[in-house]
Point group: C2
Chain length 433, copies 2
């Protein structure tokens, strides 16, 4: 435990680990009961409840902004970086954005109850696979207070209860947002325990969530690599997570040079800090426009680290170390390698990719088809910027995260990824021979 | 470690834990390489390879049966129970059944490459979700040697490599089957490492598989509760498992009495040892045929343990203890409770079910619809025997298991459950604004 934090409640006593464990398990049980009510609500009822939650958030704006000011003051006193403070900070416009995002979720198609497929059993029963909520979703996140509202809204719309554990930096903001949402939801008939924020910042609470197999159905960590790694290592509960976004763009010999330059610039420089940003550029040795592409990137302010052949393209490219090929910079830095053909590009990707998003730029459809078929990442793109790796851009309306694991859901995860299914067997008295 | 076993290879030396770990990780890496080849094979190529594997199994019958005789002799010397020996034993007919099952898998529709859906991104790219293999599947199983062939066939047909760890009782049988299959597969162009059996029976090998996050993509345990619990507790790799099958049948007031009796008898007594066997019977207090149903069960040789109201139905019903409601007997024993209406039945199920299979017997469609919607198990049935909970009966052709977790796949899992998907993004130069 790096830092001991007090149970921020009426009491100032330090809670015992066993108390925290009991608190989390009691909250999980309450969440499960609430979820059974939520699971029976219609799409219109859930949407109305989210509209009420958004309205409550707007009505509570003064209280939420003053709670946020407390967090900002505490963060400044603790010496948080400017970037951290910016992630933490709310203002009227950002709060309106949070409320509007809840309303957007309320307008999404409801996956619950959807028939996936229908078939016939050997003995004649009709078999229907139908989508249902997963149950109780635990969300463990860091400093962005909007996650409280986004995650809760996605869970409610998909019929799941949410057990939220936010970062200590945002504790007052998170509580104010969660309280507003819960009151809005309750006014529309959603049980108060459908959305619960764990009241203590004791780190033991995270451990208790991760150990709660049978009570918490899935954990979604949203935060930096150390948080996600801890969750993946310690969880006894299924985890939907992404670790790294080491995204590659491969520019094939038959790429359109102007398109290649535009895509490389956009994939790297539009926003360098998002998980869909390109981190490695693979230039085909037979692509004639490589000097132009790397020159444009450097001119745009990007630092390039290359292998020997890439360095030969521009004297401003510095040597890449072996670690560079496995690094998610999240910054204006790019590793660049020159490869011989699509096979070599796919070999490089298989060795170094984190399974998030990879793109090929080419006018040769056969080569593109091969890349799309054989590269094994969650998202594979042809002639598009890796920065599009986003649930909103994919038309999902929102996302709870981008999953880079292989089971359940991959890539941007929104409402459908928060459901599972059951088999309904419709018989007329069949017994098995 | 309950029992120390030697590395059964040319060497008789006891392997060090680190050696076992290295062995397993090297095999996993080799399996991953082989899987990349398998992933590119066409449906026809995979089917032909499985046909060759079945032929090799038939050709090797003498060797396999003599290996099995070794296992049987060792099992008898160790005092294995008759039931265990029966599970272990192969003869010409069972071996033919194993070969035929491989051929059946070869004839199943191939999910790999299937388009799940197609949509359009905000910026105009076409988005295709397409099924792909999961990767390397670890299968940890106990004494039935047919699992070696069944699991390997399902993995190969779905483009996955298999890393198999069978029980020590069946070690010679498993090796002979795996060797025959590998030679058949290799003759048809599947790399030998696509199906590997871990050569040592050292229990440390199981631990090494469970820790191999990033190398093994999914573990499927097939065996008793203690095996599955160990796997679920220790795995750092996603697990597709089922623990218990505490299946309920609820006979509603409006059930057809003859159908109710037939379904109850079949659900319990057809085969008592399978996971889909009914373990608890819920009789509605308003159902007029209860005495007939319990009488028929007792007359068929079933021991009934009931609550007070159930005991009043027949003097031969003994009192149930609280544990009875949570017990998977896998035997001719049944717990029986009398409940007041569908709500009370669903409450009992929510408290005691293991999430496997539950059935309602009623002629009232509205009540059936409510049960089918609200009971949260992997399989919910109306007017059918719980014994139908089986991939073969569901028309899936085979199953690798019945999953009672909530993520990825639920209920009978066959080829589709051994796939995941990727997003293919088809653009024409789009950059993100």
């Amino acid at each position: 435990m790096e830092q001991t934090q007090t149970l921020e409640s009426a009491s100032t006593m330090e809670p015992q680990a066993a108390d925290v464990e009991r608190l989390v398990r009691d909250m999980a049980r309450a969440g499960r009961s609430a979820q059974r009510v939520l699971a029976r609500m219609s799409t219109a009822e859930k949407a109305a409840a989210l509209m009420a939650a958004a309205a409550a958030l707007r009505a509570d704006a003064p209280r939420i902004l003053s709670a946020n000011a407390q967090d900002i003051a505490a963060g400044e006193a603790r010496g948080l970086s400017g970037a951290m403070l910016d992630r933490l900070r709310l203002d009227a416009k950002r709060l309106e954005g949070i409320a509007a995002a809840i309303e957007n979720v309320a307008r999404l198609p409801d996956p619950v109850g959807q028939e996936i497929d229908r078939s016939e059993a050997l003995a004649g029963m009709v078999l229907v696979r139908r989508r249902i909520p997963i149950g109780l979703i635990g969300i463990i996140y860091e400093s962005r207070p909007n996650v409280t509202a986004d995650a809760a809204a996605l869970c409610v719309m998909s019929g799941n209860a949410a057990l939220l554990r936010g970062g200590s930096e945002a504790v007052h903001s998170n509580r104010a947002i969660a309280a507003a949402m819960a009151s809005g939801l309750a006014s529309a008939g959603v049980p108060a325990e459908a959305v619960q924020l764990i009241p203590t910042q004791d780190r033991e609470a995270v451990g208790a969530m991760l150990r709660a197999a049978g009570l918490v159905d899935m954990i979604v960590p949203r935060g930096g690599k150390s948080l996600v790694e801890r969750v993946q290592n310690d969880a006894r509960v299924p985890v939907l997570a992404h670790l790294d976004g080491i995204c590659h763009t491969y520019i094939h010999a038959a790429a359109d040079p102007a398109m290649a330059r535009a895509l490389a610039l956009n994939a790297k420089m539009r926003r360098t800090g998002i998980c869909g940003a390109m981190e490695t550029l693979l230039l085909d040795a037979a692509f004639p426009g490589s000097q132009d592409v790397v020159g444009a990137l450097i001119d745009a302010g990007c630092e390039l680290r290359g292998d020997a052949r890439a360095q030969a393209l521009d004297p401003r490219i510095t040597p890449a170390t072996p670690e560079d090929w496995n690094t998610e910079y999240l910054d204006a830095i790019l590793s660049v390698a020159v490869v011989d053909g699509v096979e070599a590009a796919m070999e490089h990707i298989a060795r170094h990719s984190s399974g998030h998003t990879e793109a090929i730029v080419t006018q040769d459809q056969a080569v593109a088809d091969r890349f799309l078929a054989e590269v094994d990442s969650a998202i594979v793109m042809h002639n598009a910027s890796t920065q599009f790796a986003d649930g909103g851009e994919f038309g999902l309306g929102a996302e709870i995260g981008i999953a880079t694991g292989r089971l359940h859901a991959r890539g941007p995860v929104a409402l459908e990824g928060l459901t599972t299914y059951k088999w309904q067997v419709l018989g007329n008295g069949q017994t098995r021979a």
